[in-house]
Symmetry: C2
Subunit: 199 residues, 2 copies
């Protein structure tokens, strides 16, 4: 019982953060308490506002507190290009490459062993989005993993009859990695080097 | 403007945490929003409770929301041993070695170039604590840095006339490091190998 209850609760709560173990959580708690209480209170407010207020964009399904996310609400984007990704984090990674089309965010990737089929990851909503839009090219930017490749192949197959160009980001992205960990330059090249998916 | 305002505020607020850069903050925000909103809300509450409620122990000056910290409130500790450290984090590190005496927490170390003399770091309060206690040994566990050594030497000098044994933790702790980063075994050995400070 070295820590008083409020400090122990704070340390325990900090451990929900990815990559934060016991020692890091202790340092974080102590540093805020000793040196930056106003920062700690600001973080508390920001957490509550975001956890309570953020939902999903009705158009692309990324995370946002508004009906439309900034990417969907922007009138100056290319409405003929649709980029499909696995998670909201990937939207931000792709956007930083300078891509200025539209997005659709799947709920992860196909994973038959976990019972995650096309419906579970949002393929029907993707088809709706494509049917209600004027896209001439769909760029599949799922993760360069086995599951991401399988998901990409599946999307290419179901979109093939529609006369839209379906492309996959080039394998400049390292195989087996996760898209949002890739550096910006690699991802920019991967977009430039995209090619049609061979069926 | 890739992120909506509530998400951007959360990412910015997370960056006050030590060791958390832009990419880590993004991943933390996204992971909480996508997978653990109840954890995010729990962290928000824990932060607010701790930032508003935690003060300093009136006895040893470590962080606690109560008048006395768990170490000072514990009746089963050795009242003849006092361990002096630089920060509340060090109390918890030392306690994990199995030390069961009492503590006093300085406000850091002497740093004449920054204008931090004995009063600024709490030396008068340390003397009060010693005068009101029954200590026969004071273990100086300031950081094994140049400043921590100088602070230790200063404390030894002012306590010398009082007939109390003044000891310094052994240099099993690596020079130039910070006490709370030292592994438990090293710190345990450093306590066992403590020796009187030569003046
Ligand atoms: Zn959107
Ligand atoms: Zn205390």
């Amino acid at each position: 019982m070295s820590y008083s209850p409020l400090i122990r609760q704070l340390i325990d709560a900090l451990r929900i953060l990815p990559g934060v173990g016991q020692k890091s959580a202790q340092r974080m708690a102590m540093q805020m308490l000793e040196r930056d209480r106003s920062g700690g209170l600001r973080l508390s407010s920001a957490l509550q506002a975001a956890m309570d207020g953020v939902g999903h964009c009705k158009n692309c399904r990324t995370l946002t507190e508004n009906e439309l996310c900034p990417q969907c609400a922007d009138p100056d984007r290319d409405d003929t290009l649709l980029c499909v990704v696995e998670s909201p984090m990937d939207v931000f990674a792709v956007d930083q490459t300078g891509f200025r089309g539209r997005y659709f965010v799947l709920k992860g990737h196909l994973s038959p062993l976990d019972g995650l089929g096309p419906e579970a990851i949002g393929i029907p909503e993707l088809l709706e989005r494509i049917e209600s839009g004027a896209f001439t090219e769909v760029i599949v930017a799922t993760n360069p993993t086995v599951e991401g490749e399988a998901t990409s192949h599946y999307i290419a197959q179901i979109l093939a009859p529609r006369g839209i160009t379906i492309s996959r980001i080039a394998h400049g992205v390292p195989l087996g990695g996760e898209l949002d960990l890739v550096d910006n330059g690699t991802l920019t090249h991967a977009f430039a080097g995209r090619k049609p998916i061979a069926l």
